[in-house]
Symmetry: C2
C-alpha cells in the first residue's frame, strides 16, 4: 500500500511547504505515518499467514464462512463482504477448493447460484491459524491499554469521516 521507506524529514517537509504553501506539514506527517504503520502491519500479517500456507484474501474468505451459522455463503455475497470483484472471488474460491478448505455445492432453488461451504479441513485450518494470529495480535497491541485503544478508534474515525474530502471532485461533501 504505502511501501515508501523514507518518510519525509522535517526539513524536506519544510522545503515542500515553501514551494507549496497550502501544505499542512503535521497533517502530511500523520497521514504518511498512518499509511506506513498500516502497511507494515499488513505485511506482518502476510508473513504470519504464509507460515500456514495462506494468503490474506483466502484467509478472509475462510473467516467470512466461519461467521455464518451454517458455514456457508455464496460467491457474490463473499465478494461484496470482502470488497473484491466477483471475478477475484472465483479465483480465491478456486484456490481454497483445490486445497480442500471449501467446496462448491450447486443450489437447487436457483440454478445460477453456488453455495460455498467451509469443509472440516477448512475449519481445522482456522483452528490452527486463528489462535496463532490472535495470540500474536494480542502481543502486538499489548502496549495500548483499553483507554488508548478507544482514543485511537476515535482519532481514526475523525480521519475516516474526512476521506470524502480527499477524493471529492469539488466542494461537494
Amino acid at each position: 500500500m504505502l511501501q515508501l521507506r523514507d518518510l519525509p524529514t522535517p526539513d524536506i517537509l519544510a522545503k515542500f511547504a515553501e514551494r507549496y504553501p497550502i501544505a499542512d506539514v503535521t497533517a502530511i506527517a500523520s497521514f504518511l505515518y498512518l499509511l506506513r504503520v498500516a502497511s507494515d502491519l499488513s505485511l506482518a500479517l502476510d508473513a504470519c499467514l504464509s507460515k500456514h500456507g495462506l494468503l490474506q484474501g483466502r484467509w478472509w474468505v475462510l473467516i467470512l464462512l466461519m461467521r455464518e451459522d451454517n458455514l456457508t455463503s455464496t460467491p457474490s455475497l463473499l465478494a461484496e463482504k470482502l470488497g473484491v470483484s466477483r471475478a477475484t472471488m472465483t479465483g480465491l474460491i478456486d484456490g481454497l477448493e483445490q486445497s480442500g478448505l471449501v467446496h462448491r455445492v450447486f443450489a437447487q432453488t436457483d440454478r445460477r447460484s453456488v453455495f460455498i461451504q467451509l469443509t472440516n479441513a477448512g475449519q481445522a485450518k482456522l483452528d490452527v491459524v486463528m489462535p496463532d494470529y490472535y495470540g500474536r495480535l494480542r502481543q502486538c497491541m499489548q502496549a495500548l491499554d483499553e483507554e488508548k485503544r478507544t482514543q485511537l478508534n476515535q482519532l481514526l474515525s475523525l480521519i475516516y469521516m474526512g476521506i470524502p474530502s480527499l477524493v471529492a471532485t469539488s466542494g461537494s461533501l
Copy 2:
C-alpha cells in the same frame, strides 16, 4: 490492503473469542479499523492522483526526485527509498520516461549506472498535483488539531514497535 468491508460486529467477535479464548477483542477491533481506514485513505489517494493521470508508485518516484537538490537519483536508490524491487523501479521509470516526466542520463564515472532526472515537465506536473493533494489532505485532516495529531502519532508508534511480535518466529524480539 485490507479490502474487507464487513468488519466484525461485537457479537461476531464474541463468538470467535468463545472458540479461541486467546483472542483480545478490543485489540482485534482496533487493528482491523486501523487497516481499514488506511486502506480507504490509500484508495482515496489513488483516486486523487488518477485525475492527474498518475499512479501512486510513479508519483512517489517524482517526489523522491524532487527531494534531491539536483532533481536526480539512481534506480537503485529510488527502489530502496520507495521499498520496491529494482525490477519494479525499472518499470516505474519506463512509464515516467515515456510520459516525459523523467529521463535517463548514462553515468560517465560508473558505466553500469544510470542517473534518473526530473524533467521540466515532471516538475510542472508536480506543481499541479502537489497543491491539489496537499489541499485535499489538509481538509481530510482538519478535524484533528495539533494535539490530536501528536496523540495519534504516539499511539501509532506504540503499535509500530509491536509489529515484530506479530511476525516473529518465536519469543525472540
